[in-house]
């Protein structure tokens, strides 16, 4: 086992710089998830760690060893590809054993490791099949099996679940979490799915356009997003963003009106006021609580069984997303009063960075 250290890592293709100097410390035994929108450079970064892509500038070390010039095979890591990349002409058993054979490992040891991995992943009956005779989920297991037989110091995953259907994805996610607990090896996992990121990660790295936006535990990212991008990227459905003006009494929000701010708040300019759908309260018959209220019309209802989301059009035309109790009946067109509490909200300045107004009190 070992950690990974990225120091000012840059990647360019020709004149085009894709990764802009990333510093990152992956702790030993950690499950680190790289998350970000499509095309932000997640795969490129992972492939640089794997040794499949040259590092234009900066250094990457695994353990205490700088690996910039170490070939992929000697980095003692394994990788699971989005396409699984199983060798189509080999049986599952051969697929698992192939890498070990290249290490000139004794036959008996190979057989033992293959049997063990097959048992962990419950693919024992599939060992004599060819990949084309497997379902998507089974291929996925074999791909994971191929990476665990090598007992590497570091596991890399590039969107391993994105080719599976929703149900299997949830199941494999649980199994991956179980595998991580069992092995305790350092894992770096790339995904664009923030639910995968939240559920699996010890820490999450949010990337955008080749830069790190924030690194932190899922709890930290959700509750203390450091900028507007992270705030809207993490959390599903998205955080509502309302743009308010600072005046001498506090913050003036459209629809909701005036709320007061603590003394540490800026004295002028605009503030992006972020509030998650579950942080609104629906006000019933006058008993207003919270710091500000507004009344709007329900334009769309999304009923998910355990949860219910309402799209509410406020008088200014803004639409906010509100989570409500799924046990209450709502109708589109109905008028609804929302209230919000200032200390539950997130505040971002004109530079999109977080203004930590209430962070200590929470």
């Amino acid at each position: 086992m070992s950690g990974v250290n990225l120091n000012k890592v840059v990647k360019s293709y020709g004149d085009l710089e894709i990764i802009h100097g990333i510093d990152l410390e992956v702790h030993d035994g950690e499950f680190l998830v790289l998350v970000g929108p499509s095309g932000c450079g997640k795969s490129t970064l992972l492939r640089m760690i794997a040794g499949l892509e040259e590092i234009t500038d900066g250094t990457i070390s695994i353990g205490d060893r700088i690996v910039n010039d170490v070939p992929a095979a000697q980095r003692n890591l394994s990788m699971v590809f989005q396409s699984y990349a199983l060798y189509p002409h080999m049986t599952v058993r051969k697929n698992l054993a192939f890498g070990l054979g290249n290490l000139k490992m004794p036959k008996a040891e190979i057989a033992k490791r293959v049997a063990e991995a097959a048992k962990i992943l419950q693919i024992e009956e599939l060992l004599e099949r060819k990949p084309r005779q497997l379902s998507g989920g089974q291929k996925q297991r074999v791909a994971i099996g191929r990476s665990i037989v090598r007992e590497p110091e570091l596991f890399l995953f590039d969107e391993p679940l994105s080719n599976l259907d929703a149900e299997l994805r949830v199941q494999m996610r649980v199994e991956l979490a179980g595998l991580y607990q069992r092995l305790g090896t350092t894992m770096i996992y790339v995904t664009h799915d923030q639910i995968e990121a939240m559920t699996l990660a010890t820490r999450i790295v949010v990337l955008q356009a080749g830069r790190v936006e924030q690194v932190g535990t899922p709890f930290n990212l959700y509750n203390y997003p450091q900028n507007k991008f992270v705030a809207t990227f993490i959390g599903s459905p998205k955080m509502n963003m309302i743009e308010g003006k600072v005046n001498n009494k506090g913050l003036d929000l459209p629809d909701f009106g005036q709320i007061s701010l603590p003394a540490t708040a800026p004295k002028s300019g605009a503030i992006h006021f972020g509030i998650r759908p579950e942080q609104f309260t629906i006000v019933k018959s006058g008993s207003a609580e919270g710091d500000a209220t507004s009344t709007g019309e329900i334009t769309l209802i999304e009923y998910l069984g355990s949860e219910l989301f309402l799209y509410i059009t406020l008088p200014s035309g803004h639409i906010v997303l509100v989570q409500a109790s799924s046990q209450t009946q709502y109708k589109t067109g109905e008028q609804l009063t929302l209230s919000l509490t200032a200390k539950n909200a997130h505040y971002f300045g004109e530079d999109d960075l977080r203004i930590p107004l209430y962070d200590e009190k929470k």
Binding site: L52, S83, A85, Y87, P88, H89
Partner: protein, 297 residues
């Protein structure tokens, strides 16, 4: 609208079905007839040759009828021993040259193709363009310089000029064919193999080649056919009748003396096709199986 009884409705449906079936059958018959005539035109020379191989010599060019007045099967054994040397020798020569050419061409072209498709090296694009340009040079242009070269090395009158170039990836057509094939294999496989500890050669050998059976079989089949049938190459480089390949030997039936043995010539010509036929049948299975088992399609 009047309601039809079930009986009436099914009667009408049946009559329509019968008409449709009849029309379909007529179309099928026309189509097959047309195709049969076309294939007859195509195989006529072959049929003519087969028939001529068992005709008496005077009937071959003198008689319109395809059917021989008598079957002279003796043309086969006589033809086999009909020349100064037995055809056993010529077949042996042809097999040596062809088998080595097939092995050489398939290996060396796939090797070169792998480099073009997967490796990075300086001047790759220039080399590729140069290779493609050789496609445009007719064989006859390089014939004399090549002959002089082999003469200088002292390889004339041996099989070497027919075999060694095949091991040097000289056939741009097959290299191009395989480059195209390799390019459509997913790169993830190479990368997975790289992480699994494969050298570039091992990736070629253990991953790329086994997945390229269709391209390899195509190369093998065409190399086999073209080498087996090759007349010009052996004609230029082989002077001793003991080194003759089958096509070269066949010519001797005509030029040997004033009386040509056409019956025997055709008998041996028929036999000379047999290896091609067998090879093709055997390897075309690989083309199909390769596509089916690689699981890529």
């Amino acid at each position: 609208m009047t309601d039809l009884s079930i009986q009436e409705a099914s009667d009408i449906a049946r009559s329509y079905r019968i008409i449709r079936d009849k029309r379909k059958r007529r179309a099928t018959i026309t189509k097959h007839l047309f195709l049969a005539i076309c294939s007859l035109v195509m195989v006529y020379p072959l049929i003519w040759m087969i028939v001529s191989s068992v005709k008496p010599d005077n009937e071959i060019f003198g008689n319109i009828s395809l059917w021989p007045s008598e079957f002279i099967w003796q043309n086969y054994p006589d033809g086999w021993e009909g020349l100064f040397l037995s055809f056993t020798v010529f077949y042996k020569n042809s097999i040596i040259v062809t088998v080595l050419a097939v092995i050489g061409n398939t290996l060396s072209c796939s090797f070169a193709a792998y480099a073009f498709a997967r490796l990075e090296f300086k001047g790759k694009n220039i080399f590729f363009a140069l290779m493609m340009m050789t496609l445009m040079i007719p064989y006859h242009v390089v014939l004399i310089p090549q002959y002089l070269l082999f003469l200088k090395i002292g390889w004339v009158n041996t099989f070497l000029p027919l075999i060694v170039p095949r091991f040097l990836a000289g056939d741009a057509f097959f290299i191009f064919l395989m480059v195209q094939f390799f390019r459509q294999l997913p790169r993830d496989l190479d990368e997975a193999a790289m992480i699994d500890g494969c050298s570039p050669f091992k990736i070629y050998w253990a991953v790329i080649l086994p997945l390229s059976l269709p391209a390899l079989a195509t190369t093998a089949i065409f190399t086999f056919i073209w080498t087996w049938e090759d007349f010009l190459g052996p004609l230029i480089y082989l002077n001793d009748i003991r080194d003759y390949t089958v096509p070269l030997a066949l010519r001797n039936f005509i030029s040997q003396d004033s009386v040509s043995m056409f019956g025997q010539l055709f008998a041996m010509s028929i036999l000379s096709i047999v290896p091609i036929f067998i090879f093709f049948i055997f390897f075309q299975k690989f083309i199909i199986r390769g596509i089916a088992t690689s699981g890529l399609k």
